[in-house]
């Protein structure tokens, strides 16, 4: 997956998890939590959907890497590139 594809995939997951009608507009370098009013249950869901849709395991120790959209994309690109 290219970084642009990863970004789209993550946004699609956030759209479903946050129950939004369309893809959210997100500032890539700002925390997702505040921008979209997400709580810890929602973050668990993002991790679970990554596993379900893309078979990507995010260990709990790496959850802080998912703080913003940019950091999430960088992290996932690294995981997929291994």
């Amino acid at each position: 997956m290219t970084n642009a594809e990863i970004r789209q995939a993550v946004l699609a997951i956030i759209q479903d998890v946050a129950g939004l009608d369309e893809l959210p507009e997100v500032k890539g370098d700002q925390p997702l939590r505040e921008q979209l009013n997400l709580d810890s249950m929602d973050f668990l869901d993002i991790v679970m959907e990554l596993r379900k849709r893309h078979r990507i395991e995010v260990p709990e120790a790496d959850y802080p890497q998912l703080a913003s959209l940019d950091s999430t994309v960088n992290y996932l690109a690294g995981v997929l590139g291994k």
Partner: protein, 480 residues
């Protein structure tokens, strides 16, 4: 082998099942009855489908937020899927005063300021305390419950106001029963402070609403989604026993002889009832004592035209509120009750039914001791009392008698025995056990409680309970 076996397809079981199946777990959802919904199921009266047990969805948030929004996100539901319509207004009516509230918390505050002007500062401090109390903590289950009455007495000086605030909270969520050997007095009713906070916030800080399609459409939607995600739903499959090996539950045996093994088990049958499935006994006081009789009237016109503009009317015939059947009124306590006019929700005209429900406290042992022959007559006597009580509250049912059976108050009241049959809660305990298990833990490390005895409240709370326990014990790296 199943990943999870879930006992009971009420709101908590359906929600837990859907969460787990959505994330690829192999799940069996087993319901003893032929219908979904548990306490919140449906039945037919005179050709009209009526949601049973249901007065309201609590936690309604007009601006769309809070617990209800969180629940929708977790179940991938849009709030519009619930199709909820808010209440008009509700009242707490005592002989010396009436307080009106609605889905805007400031309404109750202004009513307290109007009726009890000297108490408004205390009331504000009490509300702040409630807001600062985190009743959602799942990490700790305090062994000694804190007395809600004691907290109220520390804040509110006027005993009438105290009792008026206790009344609706008790009716919508006091399980009754013994607390740490402290008896539950009818004359000085009390409940756990954390549970009081949960119910208060459901009732007064958020609000009441009703789904236009009744409960059936929502449960069917959840069940269809669960099955589409690969889950197995079995109706008419009642659990008889949970078998243990080395302290772990390994297998459920069903009344029809079938057996299923699973990695973990979730039970909405209740704390005491789930322990019994393991062959364990629990102290007598852990069985809730709050049970009710509920009568139903089908009006031929809007409730407001019959004298009832409230959605829910909580009433007491005495200024000193007592919660529990008085001596001589064990079958139906006529000193206090709740009347609910479902037609007073702001529903679309086509789904508005002029249904009035009246609920009164009842004593389970008194109903249990009736012979099969005297049971129908007892129900008729109770229904006759309810007619009188509705008339005293100003609800005019008189012209209805002339219609041929289609409208009117029905003699077929719902009793503690009905409750026991449909919820599996022993003694028809409406709100389950007084001892809640906030983290869902039981005597076995792979068996978890969901629903009423996990400690959230109402339909929304029960669904959130299923979601939270599925997350905690399975999805967030819990059980396996």
């Amino acid at each position: 082998m199943l990943d999870a076996l879930i006992i009971g397809a009420g709101p908590s079981g359906l929600a837990a099942a859907l969460r787990l199946a959505h994330f690829g777990k192999k799940v069996l959802l087993a319901e003893a009855h032929s219908r979904l919904g548990g306490l919140n199921s449906w039945h037919q009266v005179a050709g009209v489908e009526i949601s049973s047990g249901l007065h309201a969805f609590t936690n309604y948030w007009p601006e769309g937020g809070g617990v209800l929004a969180r629940l929708c996100r977790q179940l991938r539901l849009k709030p519009a899927d619930l199709d909820l319509y808010p209440q008009s207004q509700s009242s707490i009516r005592f002989p010396s005063a009436t307080l009106v509230f609605d889905n805007h918390p400031e309404r109750l505050r202004s009513e307290v300021a109007r009726v009890f002007p000297g108490e408004i500062d205390q009331f504000d401090r009490f509300r702040q305390l409630l807001r600062d109390t985190d009743e959602g903590v799942v990490e700790v289950s305090p062994t000694r419950p804190l007395s809600a009455r004691a907290v109220l007495e520390n804040h509110i000086r006027n005993p009438l106001l105290r009792d008026m605030l206790l009344c609706p909270v008790m009716f919508y969520g006091n399980p009754g029963g013994l607390e740490d050997g402290r008896p539950f007095y009818r004359e000085e009713p009390d409940m756990d402070w954390l549970l009081f906070c949960v119910v208060w916030k459901c009732l007064f800080e958020t609000g009441l609403a009703c789904p236009a399609g009744g409960m059936r459409s929502l449960w069917e939607k959840l069940a269809n989604r669960f099955q589409a995600e690969g889950g197995e739903l079995r109706l008419g499959l009642g659990v008889e026993r949970l078998c243990q090996v080395d302290g772990q539950v390994t297998e459920a045996q069903f009344t029809n002889g079938e057996r299923y093994s699973a990695r973990c088990f979730f039970s909405s049958a209740g704390r005491v009832e789930t322990a019994a499935l393991l062959g364990l006994t629990t102290p007598e006081g852990e069985t809730g004592t709050t049970s009710i009789v509920e009568g139903l009237a089908l009006l031929d016109r809007a409730a407001a035209q019959a004298g009832l503009s409230d959605t829910a009317l909580f009433y007491s015939r005495q200024d000193r509120f007592a919660f529990g059947p008085a001596a001589g009124e064990e079958l139906a306590d006529r000193q206090a009750g709740v009347v609910c006019a479902l037609g007073n929700y702001a529903l679309p005209e086509e789904s508005r039914r002029h249904i009035v429900k009246i609920s009164q406290l009842a004593d389970y042992p008194a109903w249990r001791s009736l012979s099969p022959e005297s049971y129908p007559a007892a129900k008729q006597r109770v229904a006759a009392g309810m007619r009188e009580d509705l008339a005293q509250l100003g609800v005019d049912l008189a012209p209805l008698r002339e219609r041929d059976g289609k409208f009117g108050v029905f003699d077929d009241v719902f009793t503690p025995l009905t409750l026991e049959r449909f919820t599996r809660h022993r003694k028809g305990a409406l709100y389950g056990s007084p001892r809640k298990s906030r983290n869902g833990a039981t005597a076995c490390p792979n068996l978890f409680l969901i629903g009423a005895d996990q400690g959230f409240h109402g339909i929304v709370g029960a669904m959130l309970s299923g979601v939270a326990m599925a997350n905690r014990h399975v999805l967030a790296g819990g059980a396996f």
